[in-house]
Amino acid sequence: MSQRQPIRSIAEVRVGDLLPSLEKAPITTTQLVQYAGASGDFNRIHYDEPFAKEGGFPSVIAHGMLSMAFFGQLVADWAGGPAHVARLATRFKAVTLPGDRITVGGEVVARDEAAGTVELKLVAKKPDGTVTLEGSATVRL
């Protein structure tokens, strides 16, 4: 469980606020099999090494949606739970491989006090700075 204190109200939020970044454990091939089963995405590129290599990849590759789940965790933790997440979107920029350690972060880019919504910009990175996902979210507070 995250020990961070979630945001309680829109009055506490300012444009430019940074979300506390979330550093995930290195991706494992076991995790990719777990994610395949849990998500129902059985594209062999995520668990069948020869198949992935025939496709031109150095190894199996992580599901982009696994990293998007990290965005979901980041935003839900910050906002006070999944009920506050009105929209979550991402663009997949670079491939993530087993062993990669992904850190996700975010920033408040807009707030609408009357609507009670906050817009976030999100990014997922490898330790070398490679951006793997760029995203955005709308949070209801």
Partner: protein, 148 residues
């Protein structure tokens, strides 16, 4: 090239037969474990209630696990050449264990892109989940690209 030149253009508007799916708490737990989300609300009913939820909620991107019947049936796709370009979810409310949802998938759009790595056919898949009251619970949009 224009959208009409997309290999997927003839399939736009194609909709899958609805499928009714139950949101199961064991499934939510396995999903939370797979993504490494240790928030107890996803596994512990008491923790979920203490956080104001009527039942165990699902993490936001759990919506992807509620798969529509695939509207791409019969379309020749080389899965090694398929890239997931973009994904968006719009939620009316969170998903809860015990929800029974009707899921429909649709090929919403097709396009073609000329990129550094060649010509890509683009398809936007839209999945809509509706609850027993007829309320739309979420809309998911996946943009996939297939290298020619």
């Amino acid at each position: 090239m224009t959208a009409a030149d997309s290999r997927f253009a003839p399939y736009v508007g194609r909709e899958s037969a609805p499928v009714v799916l139950d949101v199961e708490r064991g499934h939510i737990r396995r999903f939370a474990e797979a993504v490494g989300d240790t928030n107890p609300i996803y596994v512990d009913e008491a923790a979920a209630r203490a956080a104001g939820h009527p039942r165990i909620p699902a993490p936001p991107t759990f919506a992807i696990a509620l798969r529509a019947n695939d509207p791409r049936g019969g379309i020749d796709i080389d899965w090694r050449k398929l890239l997931h370009g973009e994904q968006e979810f719009v939620f009316t409310r969170p998903l809860y264990a015990g929800d029974r949802l009707t899921i429909v998938g649709r090929i919403a759009a097709a396009d073609v892109k000329e990129t550094k790595s060649g010509i890509m056919d683009v398809m936007v898949l839209e999945t809509v989940a509706t609850d027993g009251d007829g309320t739309r619970v979420f809309t998911a949009r996946s943009t996939v690209l297939v290298r020619r």
